[in-house]
Amino acid sequence: MLLVIGSIFIGLIIGFLGQRSRMCFIGGFRDFLLVKDKELLKGTISFFVSAWLTIYILNFIGYLFPALKEVTTVKLSSYPSILNAFLSKFGVISIIGGFGVGLFSTLSGGCPLRQHVLAGQGRIGSIIYLAGFYIGIIIYYLFIARFIGKLF
C-alpha cells in the first residue's frame, strides 16, 4: 500500500512543479541547440547532481548508523565496466533505443514527462500523444517484444 500512496504523492509533486517550471529533459539539450537557452539544461544537471549527492549522503548515513542499513541502501547491485557494456549486445540496443527516444521526443515537442504535464494543462495534441503512448505499450508487449526476444 505504501507503494501506491508513495507513487501518487511523488507524481503530484512532479506534476505540480513540472507545470510551474516547464521542465523537460529533452528540452534542455534541444533549446541549447536551437536557441542557446540554458535554463532547462540547468534543471537536468541539477536533477543529476542532487540524485548523485543523495545516493552518497544515504551511503554516508548508512556508514555512520549501521542499524539504518535497510533504509539507506539504494545501490542493490553493481554494474559492469564501461568497456564491457559497450561491447555487449545490450550496449548496441541501448544506443539504438536512446536514439529513437531522442529523435521522436524532439519531433513531438517534449519528453514523456512534459507531455503528461501538457496533457494535464489541456493541450489536445498531448492528450492524443498519451493515447498513442499507452497503446504503444500494449503493441510492444503483443508483437514487438517477441520479435526483439528472437533477435537477441
Binding site: 501506491v4 503530484l12 512543479l17 519531433l107 505499450i137
Partner: protein
C-alpha cells in the same frame, strides 16, 4: 504569461527548473528505500516503466493477461503517471493556465507517442530515468544518453526544416 506576478513573487522559486531538479532528483532516490519502489535499481521515477506497470496491473485485473512488470509492482499499481497528470491539472487550475489548445497535427502526435513508448520500452527508460540511472553509475545509461543526444541533434535538424 504569469498574470499574478505581484501576489506570488515570494513563490517565484517554484518556476525555476533548478528547484525542480533538486526536489525531484532527491525524491527519485529517496522513493526507493522509503516507498519501497525498489527491486529494479534506480526505479523511483520512470514515466515509461510506471505507465507500463499500471497497464500491466489493469490488464491482469481485467483480462488475466500479463504484460511484464517490475517485481515490486505485480500486485499493486504504480500511480506516478496519474499523479503527474492530476498535479498538472491542479497547478494549471490554480494559476489560470488551464485551457484546451489545439496546435499540433494530431495524427503525427499519436504516432510520435507510439514510437517513443516502443523505443523507451526497448531500453526500459524514459529520458528522466536515463539521467537517474546515470547518477547511479549505470554504463548502459551513458550509452543511451549518447544515443539520445544524437537523436535530439537530428530531431533539431528536422525541426529547423519544419517537419
Amino acid at each position: 504569461m504569469n498574470k499574478s506576478k505581484k501576489g506570488k513573487s515570494k513563490l517565484l522559486f517554484l518556476t525555476s527548473p533548478i528547484f525542480f531538479g533538486f526536489v525531484v532528483g532527491s525524491l527519485a532516490v529517496l522513493a526507493q528505500p522509503i516507498f519501497k519502489i525498489q527491486p529494479p535499481q534506480a526505479y523511483g521515477i520512470c514515466i515509461v516503466c510506471h505507465a507500463r506497470d499500471l497497464l500491466n496491473w489493469l490488464s491482469i485485473l481485467l483480462f488475466k493477461f500479463k504484460l511484464d512488470s517490475a517485481e515490486a509492482t505485480i500486485t499493486l499499481p504504480l500511480l506516478t503517471t496519474i499523479g503527474i497528470f492530476l498535479g498538472s491539472v491542479l497547478s494549471s487550475k490554480l494559476n489560470n493556465e488551464y485551457k484546451f489548445i489545439k496546435t499540433e497535427n494530431l495524427i503525427k502526435m499519436f504516432f510520435w507517442g507510439l514510437l517513443v513508448s516502443n523505443f523507451g520500452l526497448i531500453i526500459m527508460s524514459c529520458p528522466t530515468r536515463l539521467v537517474l540511472r546515470f547518477a547511479f553509475g549505470d554504463p548502459f545509461a551513458l550509452l543511451s544518453i549518447i544515443g539520445l543526444l544524437a537523436g535530439i541533434s537530428i530531431g533539431v535538424i528536422f525541426l529547423k526544416k519544419g517537419v
